[in-house]
């Protein structure tokens, strides 16, 4: 870990930006290790990371179920917590995309819309921030396993995240990436979709699990915890030996804990 907040006084924001980490509600509750990995990676690229304690959820459950006023209420809380940072970084393409959509929630509130727009302009998904904004092209981590990678839809299509995680994974010692057939096809999570239409969602994630099995890799990585919970849930139900991690955990050298849904203290089902 190179830097802490106390060193930032003499640096310009660009050399040493103050980054607000929006950890996302799912990572906060289900996978604190993703938050820690994000902090470690951000500090490696010279950021001073802060975690506003007033952050909650990005508001997608409301937004995508048509409750725009509710989404706006949640969004105001996020804007107040994060608008003063140089950057807002999110370890999820889906939630980062939501923050980018905030201005749409305030069509009739120009003041808030202005604030939302300003914040959206400095909001980035974690991996693309590390690579595209901070110029990172290698990490010093090792992970001696064959892995496969699922491209989560929102990161891929709304934010153009495809090559960046692969570039960083290529620098991880001992890691072999086996490309997933149909890696760009939705896993069937879709937020509340997965509980509103469980049979359709279940079919989609079962197809995803089949594609994963076909790679022979025993580890699946991705950049969005929603998709990863869905995939890990299906893999767990099938009872195989494939573990699921957020890509940041591997890049930060912090995938030495059990994968999502693996028994605690096991070091992962696949070992």
């Amino acid at each position: 870990m190179s830097a802490t907040g106390s060193e930032s006084i003499t640096d310009t924001p660009i050399d040493h930006p103050r980054v607000g980490l929006f950890v996302t509600c799912l990572a906060d509750i289900y996978r604190p290790n993703v938050g820690l990995a994000a902090v470690a990676l951000l500090e490696k690229v010279g950021c001073s990371v802060e975690v506003p304690q007033t952050q909650t959820c990005c508001g997608q459950p409301s937004y995508n179920n048509g409750d725009l006023a509710g989404a706006a209420r949640t969004a105001r809380n996020t804007i107040e917590a994060f608008e003063d940072f140089d950057y807002v970084v999110v370890p999820s393409g889906s939630c980062a995309g939501m923050l980018h959509d905030f201005p749409r929630l305030f069509e009739s509130e120009p003041g808030w819309q202005q604030r939302a727009r300003a914040m959206a302009g400095k909001t980035h998904e974690l991996i693309s921030f590390l690579t595209d904004v901070r110029g990172l092209d290698a990490v010093d981590a090792s992970f001696g396993r064959a892995v496969t990678y699922h491209d989560s839809c929102h990161g891929l299509r709304a934010l153009g995240i495809k090559e960046q995680p692969r570039r960083l994974l290529a620098s991880v010692g001992g890691l072999e990436l086996r490309e997933l057939n149909d890696s760009e096809i939705c896993c069937g999570f879709g937020g509340t979709f997965c509980v509103k239409y469980p049979e359709i969602s279940g079919r989609m994630v079962a197809d995803k699990a089949d594609a994963i099995a076909a790679t022979g890799a025993k580890v699946v990585l991705g950049g969005d915890l929603g998709c990863l919970l869905n995939i890990a849930g299906r893999l767990g139900r099938e009872g195989g030996d494939v573990s699921v991690y957020h890509v940041a955990e591997v890049l930060a050298g912090m995938a030495d804990v059990p994968g999502l849904g693996d028994p605690p203290g096991s070091g992962g089902r696949s070992r």
């Binding site: 909650t56 209420r73 096809i185 509980v195 279940g202 989609m204």
Partner: protein
Amino acid sequence: MESLSHAFKERSVHALKDETLQVALHRAKDGFAVKRAKAVEGLPEFDALRDRAVAIKNHTLENLDHYLERYADAVERSGGKVHWASSAEDARRIVVEICRAAGAKMITKGKSMVGEEVGVNGALEGAGFEVVETDLGEYIIQLAHEPPSHIIVPAVHKTRGQIADLFHENHQKYGLTRKLSEVPEMVNEARQVLRSKYLDADVGITGANFLIAESGTSVIVTNEGNGDLTCSLPRVHIVTAGIEKVVPTAEDATTLLRLLARSATGQDLTTYTTFSTGPKRADDTDGPEEYHVVLVDSGRSTMLADQFREMLRCIRCGACMNHCPVYGAIGGHAYGWVYPGPMGSVLTPLSVGLKEAGNLPNACTLNGHCAEVCPVRIPLPDLLRTLRHREYQLKLGLKPLRWGLAAWVWFTSHPRIYRLGTRVQARMLATLAGRKGRFTRMPLAGGWFKGGRDLPAPQGETFMAVWARRQKERGQ
């Protein structure tokens, strides 16, 4: 056509369990997407063409009344007649009247989605006419008494075996008694049956892919040439088309044609592109004696005036459904009306109402694949979300969902309570899951498990708690 969209949930579950359907869907799944990708790769200016197509469509929609008038004038100048149908009912009535006035008995039809939309076949059959679909896919589903399940491949849900059975059952009366198994044989047999129908038909009804305003020309694309024969052999040709099909010039139509087949089937162009303008002229060797165009509004002008105008850019290529994982899992019939997949999930609620079809815009993960491939860049996920917003405002959605959302919004805008609640939840879930690390069931969360999956347990502490402790240890 009557809507069954209210039963989407049951129909989709049924479709998932229908093994024959699943075989057919699986076979179709990759074909179109791969072919489209190849076609796009082979045309470096594809994206530039898309931009031009969007501009053409937007310009036309902004001046729709003008171009419709120009088109209608040009049709009349060429000796044709234009009929304006403001509703599906009008459209049915007009088509039946034209056929009656022509003293028709037998009517051939080229594939027409607007025909399906307004229910032309039912109306004609009800009025005592014999109607024969000439597009092979449409012919198959006509024999099966089913609606199309895809807008460009209406019988995509049928397996070869099912088609062989249908032909065997229906072609005996023509003396064709051998049961076939190979595709070319089946195509030949259908051709043989259809050929006599073309010659007997009094009226030919086609749809239109484009209507060219400057010349009053209608354009259809087919791969079987059945459109040509339907246009030109019978005494009377009726074109049925939605009002959004009009484009200003032939040049505009060709720009859209370059996108259409590539997006639909991955072809550079379809095998046949048929242009028809007015009835037979004095020095023409063939062509119909009468040429009618039925321009159908049926909700389109309402769409033009509200947030869904962009949907009217649709050129009915089917790329959105070919790339939709939900469509790929359940097929087209589950959607319950004429148009399935992403475009259908926008159009259906606008046509038959949100109360009837509220499930459609919700049954989508908003993964965005459809918008990525749509040749005219329709922001389908945004439109679906707008429909959800409308549904929410009209209070049509499920009550428990509304309450859940309201509670979540309250929770997420009270950070202190949220912090406390999430801490308790993470710890409790981790403890309950115990050494297994995941749940195989949980009260009140049945939906998740119904999808055939476990729920991974949280690690135990929330990130915010870990972070707060770490900051304390660092002395901050």
